[in-house]
């Protein structure tokens, strides 16, 4: 199933099109560091994270950004329908050494242009009941 023009016309601003929760552990951060090539020590060394004024080890913003778009990819059916994806990293996602940080994603329709067959999807991304991504927007077009 991919998003068709017909399906897009039926969408209204505020419709929730996808949602998912992710559990980030230190294992997730090490895995993401290796996969992406981002070996900034603040993502796996508590001592260094504290020494530069952070409250502890934090998830890569790009891990949060990369995971947050996945429910939208599944809903769209085809990643080629994504034209643009942007976020602001407003608050860090701290990941404890011995537990997990749960990141919750709700994807809502922010704008629909039925004529152009395009839409903007706004992501509400929270961890510990705090919004962690600002202006998280995915611009898509219908197949």
């Amino acid at each position: 199933m991919t998003l068709t023009k017909q399906a897009l016309r039926a969408l209204s601003v505020g419709d929730v099109v996808a949602q998912r929760e992710f559990a980030f552990t230190r294992d997730s951060l090490v895995r993401y560091a290796g996969a992406s090539g981002d070996f900034n020590t603040i993502h796996y060394r508590d001592d260094i994270a504290l020494s530069v004024g952070l409250d502890g080890v934090l998830a890569h913003g790009m891990l949060t950004m990369g995971a947050a778009v996945q429910p939208v990819v599944d809903w769209l059916g085809d990643p080629a329908l994504i034209d643009d994806y942007q976020v602001r990293f407003t608050r860090p996602v701290y990941v404890p050494a011995d537990g997990e940080a749960v990141v919750s994603v709700i994807a809502k329709i922010g704008q629909v242009d039925a004529e152009a067959g395009a839409a903007r999807i706004d992501l509400v991304v929270t961890a510990a009941e705090t919004t962690v991504l600002g202006k998280a927007q995915v611009r898509v077009h219908a197949a």
């Binding site: 913003g61 996945q70 990643p79 034209d83 942007q86 990293f89």
Partner: protein, 148 residues
Amino acid sequence: MPINPELQGRVYAKTPSYLVGREKIREFSRAVFSTSPLNFDVEAARAAGYADVVAPPTFAIVLQQFTLQQLLDDDDAGIELSHVVHGQQQFTSARPIVAGDELTAVQTIASVKSLGGNSMITSESVIEDAAGEHVATTTSTLVVRGDS
């Protein structure tokens, strides 16, 4: 050491060609919690019209990582990695990246700003395939925290 304001406008050398591997796409896809069969299953990707497995929407960060390394390695820049926090990120895609793509990236420093004790550096990387076709443009704002 303050961030050098003269970085603004600097254009770095095109990165060496990067061959996108199928297993790298699978590894990256697992790391971002993907559940899309297009990211893992060659047959599913081919059935959907792709040459091979398809990378997740943020995979271009791997190419951008090489360009940001050029900035960090620039003796003239004065940036220490542990002081860097990601501020903003944008991907504008012409098409998804697939296994077998040979990609290069050219980075331009769009702006350098000071805000309190911190510096903000916005870098834009234009990614092309082996045919010189535009694949994606990534724009990244790094916040470099001051020492105080």
